[in-house]
Subunit: 462 residues, 2 copies
């Protein structure tokens, strides 16, 4: 080990190689709380060239490397495993260019998302990526995990918000396509391979993002519906009436609202308890009458009985109150018994059936458990948690099997936006067939034949 | 050869294996007019299982296969090369499912695009893919080439319009992810690898597409501007005022308009000749006042001097007249001297510079040549043709070198939407670096180690 560290010290200098007690807590684990090991060292390269040299050295010496961004992941992917060297992108931060004519932004991988969002806004544009961890997560991590978030309905996952990439391969070779063009069919779009590969195929060092015009005429409403079918009808009806204007369509099932009201002490928004509470936001534009059109559509849905009750935000503070329900889950978790958390997608045509099955089976196995369901339903993505007083590791595994069993039965996926990392690896075959997993292994072997890059994340080591 | 044909005949039966004079013209060449060879046989499998068996047999016998869809490609990719067996998807056609709740459509690869568009419309949705060849091209070919077209600005390239795929690998293994969900981060999204790989990595047999709400309140205008800078200002100003409503933003440079007016005998739309004529279309919605808002915005741009002259469509027939200019190129080509055609992207910030350079250099080398520039500029994509009375193969090669030289200098790409095929393969290194090409070869070798699938397209044979 001293040989490889000596080589790395020679390359980076002492200020960029941390070992032993000099390694800060942040480099030990992500936000998942998954099992951690002390990294052999933490490397802090300042340039793509240094990332390349670091990887070339580790590759030559046969040392495994775990890439680290903002450490906000929830799948344990950035947690060092035994005998791994961590490579943190934290010193490679900054927006390098905003090209207003091309409507693109180029940034180093370690740039926090919020910095990119602000830079885009200052230039009069919008960054298409937004998620709760915006202050800490980095754009390189967003790309590596194909992050989702709050505005996927309108702007898509991170994949859709990447035009160009610079990536360093396991052996130190640098791939660069800092493409600014919406169309580029010059051979395989290799950048796609690295988006969502969770650091197992290469390390992202630079990103080119498209910038969007900023939405106008924001309208928000909290609506009560009595079934997922009605929620879906509201979604399709609204979308067909105002194509492309929906920004947010979040659902909170009744158990979620019960807990939010009871544990987070939020006011009951409606007189009655309903199956689902929807948070709907749309960019109506600033044409005269646009704002009224939003309210008129909702009124019509109420007249038809699709929506049972609704509140329309009259001010920013109303909007904040609506979001307090949707964000209560960040807080109320600590008032609940321990449990397992899930991030799954379900085809919309199977969502109601899936939620019914989840309720039935969790109640049958854990009669006093609390099942919470909520999420970005327009994207087919729900988050759920299943808590029980008797929770321990064994129960957790049974809960995983129960929930992923339902997800698999209805053709859903075990990870909508958080990724596989190490925590969901044992369940990947419930969402992917053997030929798909074989292909993933083929790609991993082709790009990282020595298996030094984030080994054991997504796929089992060979 | 008889051995492999015997095996294929046993598998498919005589009605699905054509040889010799029974091979119709359509299986000989695509729309590029590139050099063709007679295929050894044309296979017409009726199911994914049959595609799989065909490939397994060809793979075992070491025969090369060229996949064929609607044969509308412009890069020679589907033209049989010497000693190749053609595999046509034409008998695998049909929309299998429209899932209204999930807003998805599942179709077999050989389905013509227009059939998919109609099915989507009948169900009250819009298919996000549209291009001139819609009546003949197939969805499998659209996916294989990552087709672009007329509404990329709003709905993206084909890549963005694919949720799930079924693909057969070179050795006959079937990969299936008929995903209907907007979010699915369960391991590598391997489908991305096949989109735009031009049949060199696998054969697409089935596709799941997202369906969009149909746009409302279509407004069209023909506008004259005096510089590309002004065109760009109109684009950004309009987009920022009406985020997400633009559907079409096409530019025709002055030489294009001259030829369209002179050779296609179209009326001069404006009193004066202008540097660029823009065709702008937007879905303004059906709120009261939305239509007026379109005209008001254009009036404001005229007042400011950004737009020099404008016509706003008052009827469907006006709109048809506007499109006649944009589509004149399909016709006026035959009135021009022979020449080379290009499909390139240029970063928008470099577009004006690139067009100036192209004019300068073409005039210097071929003083009487006709340079035509037009295209989907909001997507950074322009089509150009350079015609000259003295055109022959040698001149054509010099023209390629001149045009791709400029494209490369300004950081553009030699193919925006038509792909590389065989015709642009010699120039691929002008848009891609050596490490990028190496990675593409690594992927090709990993997925098709015997090199039987569309060999020599995109990449040179090993």
């Amino acid at each position: 080990m001293t040989t490889v560290l000596d080589a790395l010290l020679t390359e980076l200098g002492t200020e960029c190689v941390r070992t032993g007690r000099d390694i800060p807590d942040r480099n030990f684990g992500d936000a998942s709380g998954a099992r951690q090991h002390s990294p052999l060292a933490v490397l802090l390269p300042r340039s793509t060239e240094e990332v390349s040299r670091c990887l070339a050295i580790c590759h030559a010496h046969g040392y495994r490397v775990v890439p680290q961004g903002g450490m906000t992941g929830l799948a344990g992917g950035a947690n060092p495993q035994e005998n791994e060297i961590a490579l943190s992108l934290e010193r490679m931060a900054g927006v390098e260019e905003i090209d207003r004519d091309s409507a693109t932004l180029t940034a180093l991988a370690g740039t926090p998302l919020t910095v990119i969002q602000s830079a885009a806004e200052e230039a009069g544009f919008l960054c298409g990526i937004d998620l709760g961890a915006r202050g800490t997560c980095t754009i390189g991590g967003n790309v590596a995990t194909n992050a989702g978030g709050n505005q996927v309905l309108r702007y898509g996952m991170t994949r859709r918000n990447v035009l160009g990439l610079e990536v360093v391969l396991a052996d130190g070779r640098v791939l660069r396509s800092l493409n600014k063009m919406m169309k580029n069919n010059a051979g395989y779009d290799w950048t796609q391979l690295f988006i969502g590969s969770e650091g197992t195929l290469g390390i992202v060092t630079r990103v080119v993002l498209p910038l969007h015009p900023r939405p106008k005429g924001l309208a928000s409403a909290l609506c009560a519906v009595d079934s997922f079918g009605d929620a879906l009808a509201v979604l399709r009806r609204f979308d067909s009436r105002f194509p492309g204007r929906l920004l947010v369509f979040e659902a909170m099932w009744r158990e979620y609202m019960d807990v939010a009201i009871d544990r987070s002490r939020l006011a009951q928004p409606f007189a009655d308890r309903h199956e689902i509470t929807l948070l709907i936001e749309a960019a109506m534009g600033d044409d005269p009458g646009a704002e009224d059109a939003f309210a008129e559509a909702l009124a019509e849905f109420i007249d038809e009985g699709l929506i049972k009750d609704a509140l329309i935000a009259q001010s920013g503070s109303d909007r904040k109150k609506f979001w307090a329900y949707r964000e209560a889950n960040y807080e109320f978790d600590r008032f609940l018994p321990k449990g397992s958390h899930f991030d799954v997608s379900i085809p919309l045509s199977k969502m109601a059936e899936a939620v019914d099955l989840l309720r039935l089976r969790s109640r049958a196995q854990w009669p006093d458990s609390v099942l919470i369901v909520f999420g970005h339903v327009a994207d087919s993505n729900i988050h759920l948690s299943l808590s029980d007083e008797g929770y321990d590791e064994a129960v957790g595994q049974k809960m995983n099997a129960a929930v992923y069993g339902v997800v698999s039965e209805v053709g859903g996926t075990i990870s909508a936006e958080h990724g596989i990392g190490v925590l969901k690896r044992p369940y990947l075959s419930m969402s992917r067939t053997a030929p798909e997993l074989d292909l993933m292994k083929t790609l991993k072997d082709a790009l990282d034949p020595k298996g030094i890059l984030n080994l054991g994340r997504v796929l089992a080591p060979a």
